[in-house]
Amino acid sequence: MDSDHMQIVGRLDAVTKKFGSHLVLDGISLEIRAGEVTALLGPNGAGKTTAVGLLTGRLTPDSGKVDLFGLDPSRPLARARMGVMLQSAGLPDVLTVRELVTLQSGYYRNPREVSETIALAGLEGLEKRAAGKLSGGQQRRLHYALAICGQPDLLVLDEPTTGLDHEARRHLWTTVREEADSGAAVLLTTHYLEEADALADRILVIAEGRIVADDAPAGIKASVGGCTIRCRTALTDAHLAALPGVRSVARSGAAATLLVADAAAGARALLAADPALTDLTISAASLEEALANLSTSIRKAA
């Protein structure tokens, strides 16, 4: 796939944004391309929602440039081909699912049939229910319906699966994938590596307001994935850090926590070095652990 020739629908160019004295985005550049799912992956507070706010015209950058379909996103015309699902939006309690979808569809020039939108969002049977009487998961699906009702060329989803159960999450992933396969650009923010991996063609890892990695899911998983090994051992930190495949070591008393690339290889090396170790547990590294490791290695390289 020749990405240079894919149509760019949205772009942040060397954008900075401060709230008060807090620098939330520190010179971020990114491009959103048609037919591609781009995931913005990072821990809470990394600047994902601020980046979405800039792209959707809700915020203006302190410096740098934001471009949406070649226009300034604060103009309604720039937003005519975009659908947005915010992290939380309280919909009017007394309006029904069908009324809200119909109203939102009317904002667009070529909307989907309302019944089609409702089916895609998995809201069949709830058309006449007031928004205030929906469960949390159903409200998220309604938010999703409002984002896709206009057949947008750019779909922006800010933490879309928060509050969804496993089955609803899978369903949403499938329909988002279909949107991209039919040519739409999708920008998704998430703090789940699993979600970015399942959906995205490209993952941008964001930490402390900067893009720290930009790669296909396989590449990102290789650099931020990995496992955490916990055990009680008499070995020193220096000895542990020198074992093959160990990326970082943390310790409290006799309990050590190692971040390793490969669980089996790491555990084998560890057991060989200290046959007397106890309380061994192995788990997948959390994104926060992986990112801490990634940004440490970037700082070292810089």
């Binding site: 809700r58 081909r81 309280g90 009324e99």
Partner: protein
């Protein structure tokens, strides 16, 4: 596909209908705003009336302005603050909906709620023996409906700058303050002189005086001064409201 917006006329109309539907489905909001003016007017101007149809007509002019304050101050003030806090305004602002449509829909809906309240007190005034030529009715209805605008903008300014709870408190304070100081319940001539001076700062006083002049009651001061003051207050409120809308991150 070319980039294009939906037909704006249709968007404004549908947004207004949705807004009105929202209001009418909230009886805790709709009933007090529609019925309170009629209850007050029926009690003070009809049931306890000792001055006959003339007194009922005088009260109709000012209670008509009172009927416009409730929907405008509460629909806008509290409504905007609640929808800003819940994130609904943010959702509207990232959609292709033109910013003006949200505001116009709220204004249309407030005017419609005021119209319902006005129908009730006009009906009561007829029972009380009030009779006007058609032209006087037309002018009176126009002033009573126009009254929604300055109050709505004041409510909008409150809603964009205060939280939901603060906005409800502020809207209540303005609702009572404008009614009393503006002479909507009792003529301001029976109040202490300092209150009569404060009245000039309220839109309700000027609207009340305009309505009274239409039914033939000589106004305090000149009509032009009232119109000028009203325009000034409205522009100031609009300026505060638009500033809040621009500054708000949501």
């Amino acid at each position: 596909m070319a980039t294009a917006l939906a037909n704006p006329l249709g968007v404004f109309a549908r947004e207004s209908v949705a807004e009105l539907r929202k209001n009418l489905r909230l009886p805790q909001f709709a009933l007090p705003t529609i019925i309170t003016p009629a209850v007050f007017y029926g009690l003070f101007a009809i049931a306890l009336n000792k001055g006959g149809p003339d007194a009922a007509a005088y009260s109709l002019a000012t209670f008509g302005v009172f009927a416009a304050t409730g929907p405008a101050l509460f629909g806008f003030g509290a409504g905007v603050a609640v929808e800003r806090e819940s994130g609904l305004i943010e959702l509207k602002r990232v959609s292709p909906l033109p910013g003006g449509a949200y505001v116009v829909a709220k204004l249309v809906s407030a005017a419609a709620m005021a119209a319902l309240a006005l129908v009730l007190i006009y009906g009561l005034s007829l029972v009380g023996g009030v009779r006007f030529p058609a032209e006087t009715w037309a002018k009176l209805i126009a002033v009573h409906l126009v009254a929604v605008v300055p109050f709505a903008l004041i409510g909008f300014a409150i809603g964009m700058r205060m939280g939901a709870k603060g906005s409800i408190a502020a809207a209540n304070a303005f609702y009572l303050g404008f009614s009393i100081l503006g002479g909507l319940w009792m003529p301001i001539t029976i109040m202490p002189p300092w209150m009569q001076q404060v009245a000039w700062a309220t839109p309700s006083f000027h609207l009340g005086q305009l309505a009274l002049s239409i039914i033939g009651v000589p106004p305090e001061g000149s009509i032009l001064a009232h119109i000028a003051a009203l325009v000034g207050i409205t522009i100031l409120a609009a300026w505060f409201a638009v500033g809040g809308w621009r500054k708000s991150p949501a």
